[in-house]
Amino acid sequence: MWDYSETVKEHFYNPRNAGPMADANAIGEVGSISCGDALRLMLKVEPESEKILDASFQTFGCGSAIASSSALTEMIKGKTLTEALDVSNQDIADFLGGLPPEKMHCSVMGREALQSAVANFRGEEWKDDHEEGALICKCFAIDSVMIEDTIRANNLCSVEQVTNYTKAGGGCSSCHEGIEELLAKVMAERGETFSPAPPPPKTKPGKLSTLERIRRIEQVIEKARPNLIRDHGDIELVDVDGKTIYVSMKGACSGCQMEALTLGGIQQQMIEALGEIVKVVPVKAVAPTKLPA
């Protein structure tokens, strides 16, 4: 059973403005019976002011499709066409107190019916770019068409990238198998093979000059300092010896119980900035000459 809000149920059980309108002068029809939902939106528009005097609907569809249609007619009555076009599908969903992710397309259909009706009134032709696939990510309501298009347009090759571009897979992560299948399919189209391993880091070890390397190390240290200073501590770069980076923890940071955690975080940032595995080691002494060889 869907977890419909009370408003959705109310608009489904007692739909507003339902039924045909004999003197409508703007009619929008969207959906199809094969998809399981279809909507005819009828408006009576005052020609001079383009004000919507009355609105009604006929809908073939589920509870939330009927509720979305009912909500839409209530929201746009009294508005001008231009004002009405500002109503987004999210506005319809919000008006209804939210919709389950699987049902967001019902609000999209309402919004599209409105665009279609306005086009009909203005004598334009409304072309929808609407294509919908199977719902993959339930946390963020992202469907397969959206994911495939994004993979194609951006040459993506990992689940992580798909999440960064579309949010899909960024929640409970149960849909990662589905995302991998889409990746495999689209990558096969461009002659590549999907591999579940993360993409190799862009910077290869040894590629940096010594100067660039030191600069990046300093940048990471500088980035970390404000937070530490706020906690009455500080950090200073002491020396770099191959893959070992020596730092000195100062003030409250010195001997702090969280020192290991702080250094762990900094070490992780170093690894990312340099594209190689390095170790961040705290030292008490400041003079580099006293360091172990």
Partner: protein
């Protein structure tokens, strides 16, 4: 919810666990907590009762030996075990025969196996959901590892000729599995006289508890376990037995056997009354499936030009519980694969409602449903752009033709 008591007509989804079964289970959560494998008195008593429960289930399906029953966590595990075992036992055979209308427990497993390189033959059905045995016969070769065909369809109740198909498979030296989750407890089954090698059943479909099912495995059938570990179920399904559920299923099996005749007379009569009552009062509606050859408790009606979820919500408001093959109830865009396989047009497939009865339903309840349905359909058709004053809009000039299809 209305003030009237609710009416439950969704027994193919799950049933109420019989109170006798619940009562019998309770001691196994408290005093009788022992592990039947243990070598002490805590375990011994429990082991004895598990044996009795197994015998009761054996009797319900007419199995020759009680060791032919392997308890699982449910119908899905039994289905997966049967098919994967057959593949493992015959690694040279890379083909599976099944049907387009199986339960997802079989169909989605087969889809995955197809990705892994197996060849899946899905037998098609006609408009009434019937198979062609000629098509089946041609596919039965020595490349086929297993045939998996359901006994009765969960959506329409339609029976498949599994006994005949199993004999054909045996003649071709191919293993035969049937998902009998909807049939066990509702129709007579006699495995001792059958050619079926493996049969899946589920406790909660026959007034037993959830989380328990069984795979009937004919003695001598080649088998490879899905779960390995301890020696439970004679090494065929590792893991400590779900003792309370096994006990509950034993009681449920006994009660089901006692009600077998009732199910096929009284329950069937109520189902037939419901069908006749609704179809007499609602135009543009028809029963789907092979109506002369189906489960006694199942009725699936397609209401044209209205959508199933909307019907269910209005039924639910009056306390009536049923289910639908519409796309919206599942969150997918396609209506039920069973309705699509039968070629039911979209105008009707989205409006299919399944009423599945049980021995607990009364004639008063059926009368209430017969009275409730027609106004609900009329109310939704009034909202539908595909419906005119008195029927579907057929005049192409006035027909609803939305922007995209």
């Amino acid at each position: 919810m209305s003030a009237l008591p609710p009416i439950y007509l969704d027994n193919n989804a799950t049933t109420r666990c019989a109170p006798e079964a619940v009562a019998a289970m309770l001691p196994y959560f408290t005093e009788q907590f022992g592990n039947p494998s243990s070598m002490h008195s805590f375990g011994a008593k429990v082991g004895h009762e598990v044996k009795a429960a197994r015998a009761s289930l054996q009797k319900l399906i007419g199995a020759e030996y009680d060791s032919e029953i392997v308890y699982t966590a449910g119908g899905t595990e039994a289905d997966n075990t049967a098919i994967l075992s057959a593949l493992k036992a015959s690694p040279d055979r890379k083909e599976i025969i099944t049907t387009t209308v199986e339960h997802h427990a079989v169909l989605h497993l087969c889809d995955q196996l197809e990705k892994d390189g197996y060849i899946i033959h899905k037998l098609k059905v006609d408009g009434k959901g019937r198979l062609s045995l000629d098509e089946y016969r041609k596919l039965l070769t020595d490349k086929v590892a297993v045939v998996s065909v359901m006994w009765a369809n969960n959506e329409t109740g339609t029976f498949f000729p599994v006994e005949e198909m199993a004999r054909m498979a045996r003649d071709a030296n191919v293993l035969f599995h049937t998902d009998a989750v909807q049939a066990v407890g509702k129709v007579e089954i006699n495995m001792a006289e059958s050619a079926i090698d493996m049969l899946s059943l589920s406790g909660h479909k026959l007034h037993g508890p959830k989380g328990i099912g069984a795979l009937y495995l004919r003695r001598g059938s080649r088998f490879r376990p899905l779960l390995r570990g301890g020696g439970q179920e004679r090494g065929r399904r590792a893991g400590t037995e779900n003792v309370p559920a096994i006990i509950g299923l034993g009681i449920a099996a006994q009660i089901a056997r006692e009600h077998m005749a009732f199910e096929n007379t009284q329950v069937r009569a109520l189902r037939d009354k419901l069908q006749a009552g609704i179809l007499a009062a609602v135009p543009n509606a028809f029963a789907t499936g092979d109506v002369d050859n189906r489960l006694p408790n199942t009725l699936n009606i397609a209401f044209e030009y209205v959508e199933g979820e909307a019907i269910l919500m209005l039924l639910n408001k009056q306390g009536i519980a049923a289910s639908s093959g519409s796309a919206c109830t599942s969150g997918s865009l396609e209506p039920s694969h069973v309705m699509r396989a039968m070629g039911i047009p979209y105008t009707a497939a989205h409006g299919t409602i399944r009423f599945s009865l049980s021995r607990e339903n009364t004639e008063d309840e059926i009368d209430r449903v017969i009275a409730a349905v027609p106004p609900i359909i009329a109310q939704l058709r009034k909202l539908s752009p595909y419906w005119g004053e008195n029927g579907p809009i057929t005049d192409p000039e006035k027909a609803f033709a939305p922007t995209y299809a």
